[in-house]
Symmetry: C2
Subunit: 411 residues, 2 copies
């Protein structure tokens, strides 16, 4: 009898965004004439940069002749892309990495999910709350979460981030082995300064903890003094893995590319306390259970580091950040409390009159035909909040805000 991993049964049957998709589908079936604007799932809308397009056409063309054809590439990614990342994403910030510390993948979602393979189930896990659901769900699947009691998994520590503490999480009081941090934050759009992030790095070094730092949104940072990489903080190479994505930076949600940095000096430990290179473990995991990213995709990703590519990507980021800025200003002018949106493409809105975030979702869908994401979908501290993304077109963002404010002014 083939027995399943029963941890899967602990999960609610569907993923947050599937639930939302179902609600939209049901609404559309009843109201086929309504045009719905989605500021829900964090998907981009702008076409790819011409630099990436050109590079991908060229890569497709290479596949037409035997002498330029590319078969299996290195599982860890082509040197041209790993080196471009080191050169462009890290060196200008005075972070020295070797290309062998950068692992190309099909996206940060896969890597933040699969990284759990490397670690014992005995580790304690902590994360800021609210948070990207994949961190938690992948730990539930792995058997690290314990049981769900009052909306929280009892083997996971939740670091509450709400308006009350300015969305700045408090350091754990107990020893925690693995800590997930995502900054700029999804879903709240808030950031940590270098000084705040340093507290976490110091904690991790002192406690021999490991930080999983998800920097998928670093390209959206506008202000000085906000770290783009955790390795800007001294000592972080001893205690942090960094995840990055081309999805939001370069509009690659449909192309699938990201990367993970595991410095060579970063160690995990055996039960007996023997240090083991995490770079080597991940290398082994990826060579065994992964076979690299499409050559075409990697060429497209590398193109954003060309002179033209950089400029084009910057324009894309600016367009989304202009959306965020506009929406934030308008909603604040209307009297709502809006967080984030300054260094991240997400607005985190306090629901008016303390209504629940799902109630706000339903009302906004029905009355404004705008879709967002209920804050509680990201964890218990998200209750009473609502996420809007800035990834739509300027026209749709404007229209959405008009509809939302018109609806709310009637309530």
């Amino acid at each position: 009898m083939t027995r399943i991993n029963e941890n899967f049964l602990k999960l609610s049957k569907s993923y947050l965004f599937s639930n939302i998709a179902t609600k939209i589908k049901e609404y559309k079936a009843l109201h086929p004439d309504k045009e719905i604007i989605s500021l829900g799932i964090g998907d981009v809308t702008q076409p790819l940069s011409p630099a990436s397009i050109e590079a991908m056409h060229a890569a497709v063309e290479e596949m037409t002749a035997a002498d330029t054809f590319r078969g299996y590439g290195p599982e860890q990614g082509y040197p041209f892309l790993r080196e471009a990342i080191v050169e462009n994403d890290y060196r200008p910030r005075n972070i020295e990495l070797d290309a062998s510390e950068v692992f190309i993948s099909d996206g940060a979602k896969s890597d933040t999910g699969n990284i759990g393979d490397l670690f014992s189930n005995k580790n304690s896990v902590g994360l800021t709350d609210p948070i990207y659901p994949v961190y938690i769900d992948s730990n539930v699947m792995n058997g690290r979460s314990g049981d769900l009691i009052d909306q929280k998994w009892n083997n996971i520590s939740y670091y509450r981030c709400t308006a009350e503490n300015d969305f700045i999480p408090t350091l754990p009081t107990q020893k925690t082995d693995i800590i997930y941090l995502c900054y700029p934050n999804n879903p709240t759009g808030t950031v940590l300064t270098k000084a705040e992030l340093k507290k976490w790095v110091d904690y991790a070094i002192t406690n021999q903890s490991l930080i999983f730092f998800d920097a998928a949104y670093e390209a959206f940072i506008q202000e000085e003094d906000i770290p783009h990489s955790i390795y800007e903080i001294e000592g972080a190479k001893q205690c942090a893995i960094e995840f990055r994505s081309f999805s939001k930076t370069a509009g690659f949600t449909g192309i699938r590319c990201g990367y993970t940095v595991i410095p060579k000096e970063l160690k995990g430990f055996t039960e007996e306390g023997k240090p083991v290179s995490l770079n080597e473990l991940w290398h082994r995991r990826q060579t065994t259970k992964f076979n690299g990213v499409s050559y075409i995709t990697q060429r497209g990703a590398a193109a954003i580091y060309s002179k033209a590519g950089k400029e084009q990507v910057k324009q894309m980021v600016n367009l989304y950040m202009n959306n965020a800025s506009f929406m934030k200003k308008e909603l604040e002018r209307f009297g709502l409390n809006v967080y984030g949106g300054e260094n991240a493409p997400y607005l985190w809105i306090k629901t008016p009159n303390n209504i629940s975030s799902w109630e706000f979702f339903d009302q906004m869908l029905c009355n404004a035909n705008v879709v967002g994401t209920p804050g509680v979908g990201f964890g218990p501290s998200g209750e009473g909040y609502f996420r809007l993304t800035a990834f739509n077109t300027p026209e749709n963002c404007k229209k959405a805000i008009e509809r939302i404010t018109k609806w709310l002014s009637k309530v």
Copy 2:
């Protein structure tokens, strides 16, 4: 202290093909003038089909405008590809599948590795020996393998396949929960008839076992009565997951696409014996820890099902199978015992004079400048055998055979 998954430490430090790559590199450093022909790693050499090229260019072009741009696709793959698979790979063989039973991925290696997430570590595992190393290594990582004793993991059952039993594995005498079968087989290139495969399906149904059927090489089958899919066998939908790949069929080793079929009627069980849909579990795994395959890749894959695409892919398969046929004939004429190569692009050669497979590797590299894969790299029953692939150009295959026979005639 962050503790690692110590199962990783049980694995030998490097993967078979990394070892081979190192040996080649060392030889090249000492003999920079020598031209080496690789018939080692199963990588293809022919350019992609024009149909796939055209489809991928068109897909890249769609990414240039907001109204045709594609962001996140369904994690399970686009309906156009899932439906084309059902329609072309299964319906003509009288296998009825729903598109929701087909999950698109970045390749069979990822899926055969990740599928382990779904199952309890208490399951017993069995596999034919020799075999594709990923099946074993991913079970070692998961903690299902036990310890390595005399080249075998003591919690894994090995079904010996050698010339002595015509490479037909004997059914397990003890209950085994999960059984890996790969047919046409990598590395031996041998196949099972429908009657032989039926014995395994019947065993699995009787014992409530699950078969992981890797059919990555089905496109190379030339003979009648050899099943392309395990679902050609009655009852297999109750007991088998099938893995397929575009890597070898369509030359997609560098493009990365494969798929996994999990019929809705296929169940795993809780400890208490409650049946659970494996289709639903995999759906949950993939939506949580995976984010779909590049749209461009999926368009390229779907194009092989067009009329032109089918013809072009068939020509590619024929070219490789002509290589296999030529090499087999020549080596047999020379007096070697050669297996496989009739329904698969792999030749499985008995090493002459019973020398070890690594010794044969070293000698062939040094004396013929041809690279193959030592049989023992695929498991203990591979000792005394050697794998050559037919994936090179006809010219190189011819040259390689000339060199090998010239070298061997001198020994």
